[in-house]
Symmetry: C2
Subunit: 105 residues, 2 copies
């Protein structure tokens, strides 16, 4: 299981998508996330754990609070992978069009 697979699997949950999206705007403590979401604080903690384990989120202690934020490095990896898939799909798509073109004559 590569990192990318784990990342995509982690992002399979809409709540985690929402959390990562919010954290991409800047650091946020757990409580504040829980206030903005329709789930309990422990649930948010569990989601953050998952996101952290796969490298999509960073955290640091700040007094009694713990600030989480999106990890640009992890996102870069995911982005690069998806880019590869997209490029290949585009290539395959273009190839097919070329073949059809060929067949018309």
């Amino acid at each position: 299981m590569t990192n990318i697979t784990a990342m995509l699997t982690a992002l399979g949950d809409p709540m985690r998508q929402s959390i990562l999206d919010r954290l991409s705007h800047g650091p946020m403590p757990v409580g504040q996330l829980a206030d903005a979401l329709p789930i309990s604080r422990p649930a948010v903690s569990q989601h953050l754990r998952v996101l952290k384990d796969v490298g999509l989120v960073l955290d640091r202690q700040e007094g009694t609070r713990r600030l989480y934020q999106a990890d640009p490095e992890g996102l870069a990896l995911l982005r690069a992978h998806l880019d590869g898939v997209w490029v290949r799909a585009l290539q395959a798509f273009g190839d097919r069009l070329a073949i059809e073109e060929e067949e018309e004559h």
Copy 2:
């Protein structure tokens, strides 16, 4: 539920990730996918249905077979979204570094 959310949720399953990855290399019939994967053909059909519903996969009838392939357009949407998240995270990350720099003096 936007398309992007649905796409990410669909990609939450490793088997679907594998399927989309294979389809990015070119069109493939259902049976061939099932042969290459450790699940039954109906299971593959169900996954393809999900991927198609969210716009990540295209299909066309070809005689008795049905060819599936990755949809470059859908992938482009997903790519663009992830790009946005990444850019924001990078921005937020840079901002924080700048503040720390400031505080040192």
